[in-house]
Amino acid sequence: MDKIIELKNITKSFDGEVVLDNISLDIYDNEFITLLGPSGCGKTTTLRLIGGFETPDSGDVLFMGQRINDVPPHKRNVNTVFQRYALFPHLNVFENVAFPLRERKVPRDEIETRVEEMLAMVALKGFEHRAVTSLSGGQQQRVAIARALVGKPRVLLLDEPLAALDLKLRKDMQQELKNIQKATGITFVFVTHDQEEALSMSDTIVVMSEGRIQQIGSSQDVYNEPQNAFVADFIGESNIVDGVMLADRSVSFSGHVFDCVDGGFGKNEPVDVVVRPEDVDIVPEGQGQLSGVVTSVTFMGVHYEVIVDIGGFKWMIQTTDFVGVDAHIGLVIEPDAIHIMKKSEYSGLYGDYASFSNEFDELSDAESEGSE
């Protein structure tokens, strides 16, 4: 696969506030790459740098090997699907989709066929003469995609395009976008703060935080092998505890020595230990490696979400077995369920479920969405 876009050591700040801090990223042809991170992490700015709406303070943007820092948006073979679609309210559906072709002075009949083709692809045939403001959110979304694709760009940038849709529609559109990407073979650069969306759609995920790239990898990589506490916490649920690497494949945490599969750390090096909630087994008290007290149980449908106090640290455990509140239980963790990470600036910030509540989580999600 060829690199189609390269970002090299890019730094960008607004009003003295650093938004992108020396990031480098390669985007390959024909891939579905997702920039994932909480609001304010710099993912949208990265997208706008590629689109040409911002220029880096330092560093380079390369498109197929060519430096394009100063190439204005209209001269880049890159199109964007905007967050609120940015459909032109004074033009109807057809004219919106035809806009880039008219800009390029494409012959009239070719415009006709290409627009029809696009509208067919996004299942909007028959809507040509509707006013865009009379369409539903999902339909507007499709128009925006058709409009961005009709000019056959090499890269399509999508800035949280699904954020405004309801859950059901969102799931459908995720699938549809994936299909369109496969069908057209165009590189998609997708921005989202929704980790589930990222995991289900992407070939590559770029996890960003505070203007820096935390990890680049496939969905499996970032889930199973998070590089630091931030990634571990942001993607899925994680219990993150302090540990000490006694030797390769032996780690001590929560007052117990565990076998694990990681190695390559210094002797007695302090590390962050990640254990996913679904990887902890509950056993009767005394039979486990650890023991604790259940402080809360929430029924989630497929499983229970159990918060267990282990030596003052609150763990989250997902289990299909019911345990009661205040029950004393034992816990078992298999070696391959233990993931060891180097200490980072995020150590100690995440992974404790002391103040956890579902409600709270949703609230903060909504907040980050709103402020984006």
Binding site: A86, P89, A131, T133
Partner: protein, 659 residues
């Protein structure tokens, strides 16, 4: 509740439209009166279309409004875009604040501030006249701009910021994105701004009053300057026509609306499901867009062309500055002196001449503008005391009487008077004497004869006093036998006492200038001091049950208005030819008959036709036998007073007014 609100709405619209109905009705009135309807007539419409000066003022007003609206719309839109894109918060809020200034500053301050600057700037640049069409246009653009910006800016802020980005993303240049996406989005706001700017410019009087210059009088200024006589009913006719034109335009726009209404309804139905505004039919939008755009372009082009042609001094232009309603203007079958002069001149000299005839409301008004070098005229017609002052200040040029042979017809009585003792600077145009006009059906003959009538408490609430300081003080001083030109301030204080007494005792009903006509004609006031000539104007229009009479008190004001050439004159010979023409028989008689003022010209007052036309009674009043005119004149006429004293009198006048 529903009913109450309907009644309220109806009453409000009655209130809003009552004056317009009055205008409409009285524009068809046969008589000059504006309070009694005496019969249907289209006379004032005919007068209006004959009144070239008014038509020119209408044209000027429209040209100005179109130019100001066009330029301010284009510049304001650009400014709004600029402000919107500005990154620096401080600069943006500073500019926001500055933009608000003309809106929260009273007109009068905006007007004065600009006038001060223009005058100062032109003095620096050494320009002959600082005020012109350009300054007027600048002033109008300045006060229209904020309205445009404040219409467009919110629309830009409402607009999804990613719209222009999307356009660029899809292949538009930044320019293209602006034209194809942003502009259509903000077009409704631009059109609203344009209409607002046009309306404001059309209606403005105060700012124009301070910033207009030679050769460009707008309608509001012309109306304001009609104060020496009275606002003529042809203005009512004009207002009525404007009303119907607007009505027609509105109906037309409503009609085109209803054609689209079906489509709109469909769109609205569709929109109900989604959010956002109703989409506009692209075709209609394009039309609107094209109209707005082309209007703005035309306006800007017109403004430029007009500015160039207006300032481009044509070889033969004569600028005349006179009192409002002070020349025979062709109304009611009279001679249109200005027009006739142009025709006569072209025949005589084989060259065309363009006469700009403009008016002022008072000597002081004229002086204020001339002394600041704000304007430039070739012929002016001020009053005696102002002539003295202007000679004193080197503001007049000596006349070459070889070019004014008709000067020989000016009576000897009018030579060597105090204001121009050597007869170098002025040629008398008209003169008059102030007398007392009274309604004989109210006033007892026995009470008449002197100034005391105006202080007689028997007629409380029926006396009309002058609404300008010099004339009002004059009545009190003539009554008390004080020299009206005294420099002794205590004497002026005495006169103030007298005026205060007149006011406090409730004798004075109103302080009036041109309102005197209406009020005396209708019988609203019973006693007024005013100029002899004007008495006849009132007599012609007096209502039923009113019987106006006139007499001269023993001591009273004599005044002479004379033609002069100010030092800013551009074409002295032409000006002298004009003055000479004004002294020749036909125009002189026409003017005398039109204004009803006495003429110092033998060709006039010895003309049998004129005498017959005026009638015996009028001749006796207009040309009374005072014995030695010059002596009386030199005793009683107003003289120029020094600035400090004028300032003092002005403050005494304010004292009278605040009580």
């Amino acid at each position: 509740m529903k009913k109450a609100s309907k009644i309220f709405t109806a009453l409000m619209f009655l209130f809003l439209f009552a004056p317009l109905v009055i205008l409409l009705v009285f524009s068809f009135n046969e008589a000059r009166s504006l309070s009694v309807f005496s019969g249907f007539s289209l006379k004032w419409y005919r007068e209006l279309f004959r009144d070239t000066e008014t038509l020119k003022a209408v044209r000027n007003t429209l040209v100005l409004a179109v130019c100001a609206a066009g330029v301010s719309t284009v510049m304001g839109t650009a400014a709004a875009v600029g402000i919107h894109r500005m990154r620096s918060k401080y600069l943006r809020s500073a500019l926001d604040m500055v933009t608000n200034i003309p809106m929260i500053n009273p007109d009068i301050i905006t007007g004065i501030s600009m006038m001060l600057m223009f005058v100062f700037a032109s003095r620096l640049l050494g320009l002959a006249n600082s005020l012109s069409f350009i300054t007027l246009l600048i002033a109008h653009i300045t006060f229209c701009l904020p309205y445009v910006i404040l219409q467009v800016l919110p629309k830009l802020r409402q607009m999804d910021a990613s719209l222009p980005e999307a356009a660029m993303d899809l292949g538009c240049t930044p320019w293209g994105a602006f034209w194809k996406v942003e502009l259509p989005e903000i077009m409704p706001a631009i059109v609203t701004g344009l209409i607002m700017a046009f309306t404001l410019s059309l209606d403005d009087f105060v700012i124009s009053y301070f910033t207009t210059g030679t050769g460009f009088q707008t309608l509001p200024i012309r109306i304001y300057n009609m104060t020496k006589k009275t606002v003529t009913p042809d203005m009512y006719a004009l207002a009525t026509i404007i009303f119907f034109v607007i009505l027609a335009l509105l109906l037309l726009s409503n009609l085109t609306d209803s054609e689209d209404s079906q489509k709109l309804r469909a769109a609205r139905r569709a929109k109900r499901a989604a959010s956002g505004r109703p989409p506009m039919d692209p075709r209609r939008r394009r039309i609107l867009y094209a109209c707005g755009g082309s209007l703005a372009v035309i306006a800007v082009v017109a403004a430029v062309v007009f500015a160039v042609t207006e300032t481009d001094n044509k070889p033969q232009v004569l600028n005349v500055y006179n009192w409002g309603e002070y020349i025979s203007d062709g109304s009611e079958g009279s001679m249109d002196v200005v027009k006739e002069f142009a025709a006569w001149y072209e025949e005589e000299y084989g060259r065309p001449v363009q006469v700009n005839y403009e008016t002022f409301a008072s000597n002081e008004d004229m002086y204020a503008k001339l002394s600041k070098n704000a304007i430039s005229y070739d012929v002016i017609i001020p009053s005696d005391y102002m002539i003295a002052r202007m000679i004193d200040e080197d503001m007049l040029l000596p006349l070459d009487f070889d070019n004014i042979p008709n000067y020989q017809y000016v009576d000897e009585d009018f030579r060597g008077l105090y204001y121009d003792p050597e007869d170098m600077y002025s040629v008398p145009y008209a003169y008059g004497i102030v007398g007392v006009i009274y309604n004989a059906n109210v006033v007892d003959e026995a009470d008449t004869g002197g100034w005391d009538l105006m202080w007689n408490e028997k007629y409380a609430g029926q006396v009309l006093q002058f609404n300008n300081s010099r004339d009002a003080f004059g009545t009190a001083m003539y009554r008390a036998g004080i020299d009206v030109n005294t420099t002794d301030r205590s004497q002026w204080d005495l006169a103030l006492e007298s005026l205060l007494e007149q006011r406090r005792s409730g004798v004075v009903r109103s302080y009036v200038m041109d309102e005197v006509y209406n009020m005396m004609e209708s019988g609203e006031g019973a006693i007024a001091a005013y100029y002899a000539g004007d008495y006849f104007t009132m007599l012609d229009a007096q209502a039923e049950g009113v019987d106006l009479r006139f007499y001269y008190p023993e001591r009273t004001n004599f005044y002479i208005d004379a033609m002069c050439i100010p030092s800013c004159c551009q074409n002295k010979e032409l000006a002298e030819i004009f003055i000479n023409y004004m002294l020749s028989k036909e125009p002189a008689i026409a003017n005398a008959e039109y204004t009803y003022y006495a003429s110092p010209n033998r060709l006039v007052y010895e003309d049998p036709d004129y005498i017959e036309e005026m009638g015996e009674e009028a001749m006796a009043i207009l040309y009374p036998d005072w014995g030695d005119f010059a002596e009386k004149y030199n005793t009683y006429a107003y003289r120029n007073l020094d600035n400090d004293l004028l300032d003092y009198i002005n403050s005494l006048w304010e004292t009278l007014k605040i009580n």
